[in-house]
C-alpha cells in the first residue's frame, strides 16, 4: 500500500535554506545592535545647532584665542565655564557691531537674559567629570574635544562612553603633555607613539602615578575605581 509522504524531497532543501537564512538574519541583527547602539554611532558626530553660529575655527584657529580666554574656570573648577555675554562683548562692541549673527549676543547683553547655548559634550548625570583635575595634570582639551580649533560648528568627536574613558584612565601616559601645552591643540601631533609614551611616562612620574622605575603606583589603580567618577 502507498501513502503520501508529508514532505517532498525539495522541502528538505527549502528547510535548509530557511535555516541558513534565519542564521544570517540573526547575525545581522546582532551586529546591528552591536554597532548601531555603540556610542561611536549615537554620540560621536553629534552637532546641535547653536543660537549663535560661533566659529572656533575662526576665533581659535585663525585669531589664535587661547581656550582659557573664554573658558576661564577650566583650571580651577569642575566646569569649564561657558563665557558670560560680557566676554563676547569685550570685542564685539567694536568688531562686527551690526552683524545679524551676533544679534542674540547683543540682545542678551541688553536684556540681561543669557544666551541659550546647547550642551554638546553631555555626560550622564551620575558621571562626575572635573576639568581642573584633568587639565592641570596635562590632559589636553584635544583628547576629549578633538581639534575644536578646526571646527566651524562644535561637534562631539569622541564617543565619551565609559569604555572610552577607561582607555585613558588605564594608561594615561600616551595622552599626557606638559601642562603649558594643554590648550595648544595642535601640539605634538608629529610625535611617534613611542615618543608620546616616553614623554607621558615622565609626566606620570611627576604626578606620582608611576614610581621612579616607571611602574604604576596605587594612585594609578585609584583612577579605575568606581568612586573616582561615580558618587
Amino acid at each position: 500500500m502507498s501513502r503520501d509522504p508529508i514532505f517532498r524531497p525539495w522541502m528538505d532543501q527549502l528547510l535548509k535554506l530557511v535555516g541558513a537564512g534565519a542564521a544570517v538574519t540573526g547575525i545581522y541583527v546582532v551586529l546591528m545592535i552591536y554597532f548601531g547602539f555603540s556610542p561611536k554611532t549615537i554620540s560621536a558626530g553629534y552637532m546641535p545647532e547653536q543660537p549663535v553660529p560661533y566659529s572656533h575655527a575662526l576665533h581659535v584657529g585663525e585669531l589664535g584665542l587661547d581656550c582659557r580666554y573664554c573658558h576661564t574656570t577650566v583650571e580651577s573648577a569642575g566646569f569649564a565655564a561657558i563665557p558670560p555675554t560680557q566676554t563676547c562683548m569685550n570685542c564685539h562692541e567694536k568688531i562686527e557691531p551690526t552683524s545679524v549673527n551676533l544679534e542674540p549676543v547683543r540682545s542678551s547683553f541688553r536684556t540681561g537674559l543669557p544666551v541659550r547655548w546647547i550642551k554638546v559634550h553631555d555626560l550622564p548625570d551620575y558621571v562626575y567629570f572635573n576639568h581642573s583635575a584633568h587639565v592641570t595634570r596635562g590632559v589636553s582639551c584635544v583628547e576629549c574635544h578633538g581639534r575644536v580649533d578646526h571646527m566651524e560648528e562644535v561637534h562631539q568627536v569622541k564617543p565619551l562612553s565609559m569604555g572610552w574613558c577607561l582607555e585613558c584612565h588605564r594608561d594615561p601616559a600616551p595622552h599626557l603633555r606638559p601642562v603649558d601645552k594643554v590648550t595648544d591643540l595642535g601640539w605634538g601631533m608629529e610625535r611617534t607613539e613611542q615618543e608620546k609614551i616616553d614623554q607621558g611616562s615622565e609626566i606620570m612620574k611627576g604626578l606620582g602615578l608611576y614610581d621612579e622605575s616607571g611602574h604604576p603606583t596605587t594612585r594609578m589603580t585609584l583612577m579605575t575605581n568606581c568612586s573616582t567618577c561615580h558618587r
Partner: protein
C-alpha cells in the same frame, strides 16, 4: 479521592478503546522467583501505542477544558501583577529592611526544587537501570521543564531594575564591565540556565521516536506537519537507534551531576552569605535532598489524577507509585535529619548568634511557619512505613500535597526568619507579604498547570518506546528463569531498557 476520580473518569477520560477500564492491579507484592510486571493487564506494543496516542488524538474532553481554563485564568494573575510590579517597583511586595528577600526568592527555590524530580527520575534512575522509571519519566521531565520556567521567572522580576537584569550575563558592552563571578547569584544564572537547557534537550530527545509514532498515526494535516517537523524525519532506523541510545546515555550521565549541582548552587545563595541561619555547610546536600523530596511529591500530585483520567493505570502501576512513595519517605527523613543537624551544629558550634537564629526559628515570631514545615515534611511521610498506606491512592495523594506545602514553608522559614532577626536587633522587623506577593505565588501555579495541560494534550504523555522495550523483556521473562539468573538478565536486558 479514588472514588471521586472514578466518578469523574467518564467525563474526564476520552472514550478509550481496548481495556481502558482496567481495574487497579496490585503488582507490588514481592515474588521470590520472578519479577512483578512493570506493565499490567493484557498489553502489547499495539495496545500501549493506542492507549498513549489516544490521549493526544481524542478530542479534548470537558475535564481537560475545565482544568486548562482554570489554570489559564490563574495564570492571568501573573499577567496583571507582573506589569504592575515592574511599573511601580518591588515596593509592591512585602520585602523591607532587613528582610530584603521574600516570596520571590522563596518561590524561586521552591520551583527549582520541584524541577529536580524530572531529571532525577530520568537520568539517575536510568543510570541505575531502574526500569520502573519508564512509565513516569516523560511526565516528570515535562514537569521539570515547566517548574524551571516558573523558577526562572522569579530572579528576573525580583530585582529592582528588571530591565537591567541582562547585566548578569557576560555580554561585551560599552562600559567594559563584567559580572562578578564571585557572586552566588551569578552561579545561579549559569546553573539554572544550564539545567533548563539540558533538561529541555533531554526531554525533547527522548520524545523524538514517540513524536514519530504520533506523526505516523496523524490524520489531520496540521498535526502531520507539526509532528513531522518535531520528529525530524525519524524512521526508527537501527543505525540511528545506535547513536541515539549512546547520546541518551551520555546526556543522562551529564544530567545526573547537573541535577545535584543545580540545587547545591542554589543553596550557595544562602550558604555563602554570612547571615546566621544561612551560613551553613550542610546546605548543599540538604537542599538537594529537599529538592528530590518536593520533586517526587509534585510528580505524585500530577500522576495520581493523570493515570486515572487518561486510563494509564496499567502503565503507571501501583508499583511505580509505591516506589516513589518509598523515595519520598526516604528523602523526607533526610530532610528531617538536616533540620536536626542544623540545631545540633548551632548548639555545638557555640556561636551565640547562630544559636539564637535557630532557637528563634522554632520559638520566635515565625514559629508557626517552622512547625508547619516540620509536620508536613518530616511527620506526614512517616505514614509510608505501612504498605497499606503507601499503596493507597488517596493517602499518597494527600501526603504529596502536604509535602508540597511543607517544602514551600521550608524555603520561607530559611529565607525570612534568618533575615528578620539577624545581627543588629535595632533593625529587627517582621516581614509580611502584600497582595502582589500572594497573587504572583498563585499565578506561578497557574503557569505551571497551564503548560502541563498543554503537554498532556499535545505531546506523548508516556515514553512509549521505552515501555515497548520493557514489555519486550516481560515477554521474554514469561518463563521464570533460574534464581541468580534474574540479576544477570537484569543487567543484560538493561541496554534495551531504554
Amino acid at each position: 479521592m479514588k472514588q471521586l476520580l472514578d466518578k469523574l473518569s467518564p467525563i474526564m477520560r476520552p472514550e478509550l478503546t481496548g481495556n481502558a477500564e482496567s481495574p487497579e492491579i496490585d503488582n507490588t507484592a514481592y515474588l521470590p522467583d520472578a519479577r512483578q510486571p512493570l506493565v499490567t493487564g493484557e498489553n502489547d506494543n499495539t495496545t500501549i501505542t493506542d492507549k498513549v496516542c489516544q490521549i493526544v488524538e481524542q478530542k479534548p474532553t470537558v475535564g481537560w477544558w475545565m482544568f486548562f481554563l482554570l489554570s489559564l485564568s490563574v495564570l492571568g494573575l501573573l499577567g496583571v501583577f507582573i506589569p504592575f510590579l515592574i511599573f511601580w517597583g518591588v515596593g509592591t511586595w512585602g520585602v523591607n529592611n532587613p528582610a530584603g528577600w521574600g516570596y520571590a526568592i522563596v518561590n524561586f527555590v521552591f520551583w527549582v526544587g520541584i524541577g529536580h524530580a524530572g531529571t532525577l527520575i530520568s537520568a539517575i534512575l536510568f543510570l541505575f537501570r531502574q526500569k520502573w522509571r519508564t512509565s513516569i519519566n516523560r511526565a516528570a521531565e515535562a514537569m521539570t521543564i515547566f517548574a524551571v520556567i516558573c523558577a526562572g521567572m522569579f530572579p528576573g522580576i525580583h530585582v529592582g531594575r528588571a530591565w537591567f537584569a541582562y547585566w548578569m550575563f557576560p555580554i561585551p558592552n560599552q562600559m567594559e564591565l563584567w559580572p562578578n563571578f564571585r557572586s552566588p547569584l551569578l552561579w545561579d544564572v549559569f546553573a539554572v540556565g544550564t539545567y533548563f537547557t539540558v533538561s529541555l534537550l533531554f526531554w525533547y530527545m527522548g520524545m523524538i521516536p514517540d513524536l514519530a509514532t504520533l506523526r505516523d498515526r496523524a490524520k489531520h494535516s496540521v498535526r502531520k506537519v507539526a509532528y513531522g517537523l518535531l520528529s525530524l524525519g525519524w524512521t526508527g532506523s537501527n543505525r540511528h537507534w545506535h547513536v541515539y541510545e549512546r547520546a541518551y546515555l551520555l546526556l543522562a550521565a551529564l544530567a545526573t551531576p547537573l541535577v545535584l549541582s543545580v540545587h547545591s548552587v542554589v543553596s550557595f545563595d544562602f550558604a555563602v552569605s554570612q547571615v546566621a541561619g544561612w551560613h551553613t555547610t550542610i546546605f548543599p546536600p540538604y537542599f538537594v535532598a529537599g529538592a528530590i523530596f518536593s520533586g517526587f511529591a509534585m510528580v505524585m500530585t500530577l500522576l495520581v489524577p493523570a493515570r486515572q483520567l487518561f486510563g494509564l493505570k496499567d502503565v503507571i502501576t501501583l508499583k511505580h507509585l509505591e516506589n516513589m512513595n518509598k523515595i519520598i519517605m526516604l528523602t523526607g527523613m533526610l530532610v528531617g535529619y538536616a533540620y536536626a543537624q542544623e540545631f545540633f551544629i548551632a548548639w555545638y558550634g557555640g556561636v551565640k548568634v547562630e544559636k539564637f537564629a535557630f532557637i528563634n526559628r522554632a520559638f520566635g515570631q515565625y514559629a508557626w511557619a517552622y512547625w508547619i514545615m516540620v509536620s508536613c515534611n518530616v511527620l506526614s511521610p512517616q505514614i509510608f512505613w505501612f504498605k497499606k498506606m503507601r499503596t493507597n491512592i488517596t493517602v499518597m495523594f494527600i501526603v504529596s500535597i502536604f509535602v508540597n506545602i511543607g517544602m514551600w514553608f521550608e524555603r520561607f522559614v530559611i529565607t525570612v526568619t534568618s533575615l528578620a532577626n539577624d545581627y543588629t536587633p535595632s533593625a529587627w522587623d517582621y516581614y509580611s507579604p502584600k497582595l502582589a506577593d500572594v497573587t504572583i505565588l498563585i499565578g506561578a501555579f497557574g503557569l505551571f498547570f497551564t503548560l502541563f495541560a498543554l503537554f498532556c494534550r499535545f505531546l506523548p504523555f508516556i515514553a512509549m518506546t521505552e515501555v515497548r522495550g520493557v514489555m519486550a523483556e516481560k515477554a521474554r521473562l514469561k518463563s521464570p528463569p533460574p534464581q541468580q539468573g534474574a540479576s544477570d538478565s537484569a543487567s543484560e536486558d538493561s541496554a534495551a531498557g531504554s
